[in-house]
Amino acid sequence: MQIRINTDLVSGIFGLVLAGLFWSQRGSVGFMSSVFPDTVLAIIGLISAILVGRGIFSPTAETVDLTGAGRLLITVGILALWWVGIANVGFVSTSVPLFVVLALMLIRTNRALRWQDFAVAIGVAIALTYGFYWVFTEVLGIRPFRAPFI
């Protein structure tokens, strides 16, 4: 499914919103700390305004391919869950199930799932996740997160 978006307009609006958000958070900082951010915010505002103008007056709508959007939304959900899991449950214990879920979802895009897929996915997930985790913590000495489980 493809949709047409006026990318100039959307980018411009995004820029203005972003600049506005940051501007509202300016707080009260002295000259030395504010001269640069203020300049940058002004630049963003300017460029965004030009983009909005271009978007309205000489629109060149570009098409954006939206196939697979459903998968993307699910993935974003998985990523959020992944982070929460790492922080509160444990790295390996979160990553293995989510790895499997993601892998299976991706296999499914091309063909139907077979039970062998489950087995292989679980095996690979455990091996790779634990493997890299081990390398990072034992070989490289990065100490793990403060989570209850591994």
Partner: protein, 318 residues
């Protein structure tokens, strides 16, 4: 398994050595039972990191467990200190490097520092690098008085570089300005790293930095004064600020702390270990410009208060 060995072997060991009249091994009850996490709130390669890495094998030998050094840089240390005060377990197995005047200055100056100066159980401050005032070897200023007279006649013309804003270097510069009644322009740099280039390239007229930099740069610079009570052995020709009439003593202190509420005997035990390894450490570090110290307990609290009084006015003025 190690815990088992320890609970059996140690009391036996202590009994035996007590029987032989030897000093009891440096242990407190059944501590440590697992690896110690030693957090450094700065980047790898920096002075705090190098010191910790030198300490690590010595600590491991003295404590009998692994010591894992890990880095959590960010916000000049504030990110690590705030996370430590919120989350660290107070059983003595987690310790963090602390620096002065950072932990005094940051909570006063920033609303969102996330931690409080008193929120640590300080184990000990193990070394100190006094501030020094450095000019390039080619500078027209031969002595501190030269600089002061020039600065008096030309306000804001003398540039003094240092690491950070409202950091130790900066606060010392402000004190110097007040006591010498001059107006210099302080130029902050992000750390001590860029300072040699700045001074050799003539981008700043002088630098207020730590003694280690003065030692490191050798003949390329001239050290006008050192902010210590007495002259340093490694810089014997450098007069102190006091000798020249300015009561300025200050620098960077480095130490370790445990979370508030850690059992006192474990804190003392760790302090003893750090003091013990300071001897070995000193051999490497004193020639580099460090002064080894052992400031703990009430003295440590007094130090914090002294620095607050010394530097507070400058920080709160913002």
């Amino acid at each position: 398994m190690f815990a088992l060995v320890r609970t059996v072997a140690l009391p036996m060991g202590m009994a035996i050595s007590a029987a032989f009249g030897m000093a009891a091994p440096a242990v407190a009850q059944d501590f440590p039972t697992r690896a110690i996490e030693y957090i450094i709130p700065f980047n790898p390669g920096g002075e705090s990191d190098v010191t910790a890495r030198l300490q690590e094998p010595l600590l491991k030998e003295a404590l009998g467990v692994d010591v894992n050094v890990r880095h959590q840089p960010g916000g000049g240390g504030a990110v690590a200190w705030s996370e430590f005060q919120s989350n660290a377990e107070a059983d003595g197995h987690e310790i963090i490097g602390i620096n002065l005047p950072h932990i005094v200055g940051q909570p006063i100056q920033r609303a969102d520092a996330g931690y409080s100066t008193e929120g640590f159980d300080i184990i000990t401050w193990f070394h100190f690098t006094p501030h020094v005032l450095i000019v390039p070897a080619s500078s027209p200023f031969q002595t501190l008085d030269d600089l002061v007279s020039f600065a008096t006649e030309n306000p804001q013309a003398v540039t003094m570089g240092g690491s950070g804003t409202f950091s130790g270097n900066h606060l010392e510069t402000l004190r110097f300005e007040e006591l010498a009644e001059v107006d210099v322009t302080y130029i902050p740099f992000t750390g001590t790293g860029p300072l040699p280039a700045a001074i050799l390239g003539g981008h700043v007229g002088s630098v207020m930095s730590n003694s280690t930099l003065g030692v490191q740069m050798g003949d390329q610079v001239r050290v006008l004064a050192v902010a210590a009570d007495e002259r340093l052995e490694v810089l014997p020709d450098v007069p102190t600020f006091k000798e020249q009439g300015y009561d300025i003593v200050g620098g960077t202190f480095r130490g370790v702390a445990a979370p508030k509420g850690t059992p006192a005997d474990r804190v003392t035990m760790l302090a003893d270990v750090f003091t013990e390894i300071n001897e070995t450490l000193g051999e490497r570090q004193i020639p580099m410009g460090f002064q080894m110290t052992d400031i703990r307990g009430d003295d440590a609290v007094a130090l914090l208060d002294r620095l607050k009084t010394q530097y507070g006015p400058y920080l709160e003025g913002n």
